[in-house]
Symmetry: C2
Subunit: 115 residues, 2 copies
DNA sequence: CGGTTATGTAACTGAGCAGTTATAGAGTGC
DNA sequence: GCACTCTATAACTGCTCAGTTACATAACCG
């Protein structure tokens, strides 16, 4: 099985796998920004940032508007909702995980008590 | 900034970026499985699946136990909780996103009215 | 128009990844 | 100990990706 939603998730998760791109999203959460503004905090050339923006745009995580000579990038969080929807199926496991951790800690404590 | 949590998220999101690995996680959600069992549904060699498991294990998404000659893989969802925690910071945007769409449509309509 | 600023594109490099086949290792059962 | 099963590792290939520098566009400003 190889669905369209799969392709979407591929792109979203792959986009999120890079720390520079996550930092760009964090910056955009504070408001729109030009390429130059986004490039400044990173020890990285402008073309590199342009490429990251292209990846983010491809994943639907960023939209852009032309204003005079500058292109402003905007955060588009909707694909994150899709990723969240995928992960939601596993939420019961990570709650269960804490239960297991609790159980393990309890077992450990009991063992401690015995010794 | 390049934190340890970043490295963790790198590994988790990168692991999730591959549809085969997401399918493996889906299978493991139904219960532990051997490498051979995991390989069967995919048109893929056993070493390929072993590599995917190694990636998943590296991201902390899978743990393994040796039982006789077979190694059973178990889903470990805790890293998904970390990824979820990261995404949580953006949840307000994906609700807001629908509002913004409404606003954009309204602006477009106004512009149409003017011309 | 000419210069300047902001950004995208092209061509290249090095690294890493997903897959393959072939082989090695480790445990079980007899 | 031997054959068998399950899994990991090695070596290789083709592709993608993150980054670079150099150059091309495009829109403003005087």
């Amino acid at each position: 099985m190889h669905t369209v939603e799969d392709d979407r998730l591929d792109a979203v998760f792959a986009a999120l796998a890079d720390p520079t791109r996550r930092a760009i999203l964090a910056r955009l959460a504070e408001g729109e920004a030009s390429v130059a503004e986004l490039a400044r905090p990173f020890a990285m050339s402008q073309p590199a940032v342009s490429k990251h923006l292209k990846v983010l745009e491809g994943a639907g995580l960023v939209s852009r508007t032309q204003v005079a000579t500058t292109r402003l990038s905007h955060l588009e969080a909707q694909p994150l909702a899709e990723a969240d929807a995928w992960m939601r199926r596993y939420k019961r496991f990570w709650n269960e995980g804490f239960d297991k951790l609790d159980a393990a800690l309890a077992a450990y404590r009991d063992q401690e008590d015995e010794t």
